[in-house]
Symmetry: C2
Subunit: 452 residues, 2 copies
């Protein structure tokens, strides 16, 4: 197979204290959750020429199992809200992309379109919106609902939401504001376009009360895994934060999603696929393994059991001895046998105790986990990239800031030696660095087409 | 009358290009509307020890009269959205308060509470929320409505909105997050309080998924002028951006609002009243007048007529000669005779031409306007402060950045000579500088009271 001509794109997924479930207890983790910690992380990633920093989000604390929640950092209680956080980081960074997650389920399209366009303007063209739908049942309660919005409806709403947001972002053409002191013309009314959207879920007149942003519009990121999610991504997204674990899954997903682009008039280059990876790196395999075990040892049984329970659809193991076998005769949960089995079959197949089971699945919280030397990790990244399983990766460092610093110190140079990662930013905007086109304003396009 | 023991508080109301309607055409105005302009303005105000910078907002472009709108900077199209803008400014400033306007009519209380709390955390306790209701009929169209929400209902909704936001801000007690690595306790569940609000307009369970912020909660600012607005302010606000023009109006308003605090268990010190002032300062009266005329000469007739029309309830003067008299027999508008008369009576009383009329009312857009020497302006500020017409002022510089720089260079030293304005910040948070108490968490209070 011929080598790819493009290079790996890298995002730093900055989950505070780190992605390992027990990271916050690690001696090197910054648990202070101060803004200064984020400045440090953002600058670390920017100095290493990462494409972007990336923030997850949710709009509810997940407190159903409050005992387990009170013992972990990741219970949906964030130190900062991502749009404000990235805005604050925009003025102390210069080149790195700034991607914030925001939900279409519990946001308003006008306000969201405006805040992301504003961030794009503040940062000189570095904003990205990670479009999610909320699958957290507790979120609905914070927004006037008694129950949860169903999945199919959620995606339908999400697509319409994205259409509205993209439409609002084209309210003004790029040159709509001459601001000519002499003639007194502030804006050119012919370059203003009122959206007047009237759909099933939204009615939004527009225009957005903000000029068009440097990137045309912020980069739209998505994480579609379900059928509806993949279709939404193929139609709308410019980058995907994917979550496949094996190479086979990754290449199949990649081909599947890229294959859907044509029917929306898009090319494979219009969408970058960036799976997450949870890397534990050491100068030797033994050092890497030791680092990992150190984190694993910090997992509290309540937290481990809670994560097994979440992954296995609600099964409750708390009544059984931790160092005894996983019982054979567990009652079936609402989630159904298949989901429950995925985790429990693993335990039976490998004859794991309950503790061994949670250590196996809880640490990286189900993500693609690689423990090894810089060469080994560079190998698996290269393999996945060259085989079209990924256009780049979202780095989920186990502990912050140490895990990200390790990746940069040990793995990035190895990728550069292989010609797989940049030494300088290609451009000034997130789009330019990701290799994405700047979208023309749909109305400017229409006018040009009509004139031809 | 004994001199007041406290000092004047100063806010810088940063309307881009300046508050004069034609400011953007002024040779010294920054019309580039770049973020760098705002950094310059924020640092200017911070170096002068202002309490806060303040941003207006609206959620619609006001384009009904598009010809006039296209000739002015202030048609509701902002270069940035205020929450993102202030977040970006938070990391390049240290002491100055950051007050953003956000509407209760078209925001969601959970998202708004979270973003302002996040800004308070990012800035180390410098956030303020200027709570407004939207009176702009065009805003409704951007949020799924066909018409406008009525005034009484708007304020009722606003009060409930504020109650929800304040409740969410108390979700976690100050010491709810021990984050104790050794014991594994991340948060203390006894310090978590679920709001469970169920009201007429909102149903919000909570808790907010963000720790309590440095100021306890952001400073709540309001601009209540109507009966409903003043009551809302007396119950909820900690600072008021007031808009009275004469000393008599100002002292009457001050006494009125401060007099309402008692019934809500509050003292006069719990609420600071900060009227806006549009100052045009020159080393001599002639220089000040010349500066003002230079701005006035830049007003375009379409814009002037449009502002007269807005102030006079929709009256249309565009068919009459600009340098002829205001006609006596104008048709009555929907706004009714009284509002129309306020402006038209002025014209008749003083025998003004149409151009003279718009020059009289349009420049400062109806705000308290003072044109004079530093001594004169310091005199009127001192008079208003010492007579309890104000606790401080919101400076609406005619042109940015020049008008703000003039105020700082010429008037601030004069206020300091009189002992009326600080030379150093008293504290680190906006509250400390404004002289406002840090609110105890309502649940901590309740627990202490129960224990007594």
């Amino acid at each position: 197979m011929a080598k790819r001509k493009d290079q790996i794109k890298l995002g730093a997924f900055l989950l505070f204290t780190g992605h390992h479930v027990a990271a916050w207890r690690h001696p090197q983790a910054s648990v202070g959750v101060n803004f200064e910690n984020y400045i440090e992380l953002a600058k670390l990633a920017e100095n290493a020429k990462f494409d972007a920093i990336f923030f997850a989000d949710g709009v509810a604390a997940r407190l159903k199992d409050i005992e387990a929640a009170s013992r972990k950092a990741h219970s949906g209680v964030y130190p900062f809200e991502p749009i404000t956080l990235l805005s604050a980081l925009s003025s102390v960074t210069k080149n790195i992309g700034l991607i914030a997650t925001a939900s279409t389920s519990y946001s308003d399209p006008f306000n969201l379109a405006r805040q992301f366009a504003s961030l794009d303007r503040l940062s000189g063209g570095r904003a990205g919106w990670n479009l999610v739908t909320s699958s957290d049942p507790e979120a609905a309660f914070n927004f006037g609902h008694d129950g949860h919005i169903l999945h199919a409806d959620r995606y339908e709403r999400a697509q319409e939401f994205a259409d509205v947001v993209l439409g609002l972002w084209d309210s003004w053409e790029d040159d709509a504001f001459p601001r000519d002191k002499a003639s007194g013309q502030y804006f050119n009314q012919e370059k203003l376009h009122v959206l007047d959207h009237r759909g099933k879920h939204f009615k939004v007149r527009g225009p957005l009360n903000l000029p068009r942003s440097p990137q045309g519009h912020p980069v739209v990121v998505q994480a579609g895994a379900s059928e509806a999610g993949k279709e939404l991504a193929a139609r709308t997204a410019e980058a995907i934060f994917a979550a496949q674990i094996t190479l086979e899954e990754a290449t199949a997903y990649y081909a599947d999603v890229k294959g859907r682009l044509g029917k929306y008039g898009r090319t494979p280059d219009d969408l970058k696929i960036l799976p997450g990876i949870f890397p534990v790196v050491g100068r030797t395999q033994a050092e890497a393994q030791e680092k990992f075990e150190q984190l694993q040892d910090l997992i509290q049984p309540e937290v481990g059991l809670n994560l097994v329970s979440a992954l296995a659809g609600g099964v409750d193991l708390s009544a059984y001895p931790l160092d005894g076998p996983v019982p054979a005769d567990l009652p079936e949960t609402n989630a159904g046998k298949s989901r429950q089995s995925l985790v429990l079959d693993l335990a039976r197949r490998e004859n794991l105790t309950i503790r061994q089971l949670y250590l196996r699945v809880a640490g990286a919280r189900g993500h693609w986990q690689v423990v090894g030397t810089p060469e080994h990790i560079a190998d698996v990244l290269e393999e996945r990239f060259e085989n079209y399983g990924a256009d780049g990766f979202n780095i989920m460092a186990p502990v912050m800031p140490g895990g990200l610093a390790d990746f940069i110190e040990l793995i990035v140079p190895e990728l550069r030696r292989r010609g797989l990662f940049r030494t300088e930013y290609e451009g000034k905007t997130l789009r330019e660095n990701l290799g994405l086109k700047r979208p023309a304003n749909r109305f400017t396009q229409a006018a040009s087409a009509a004139a031809e």
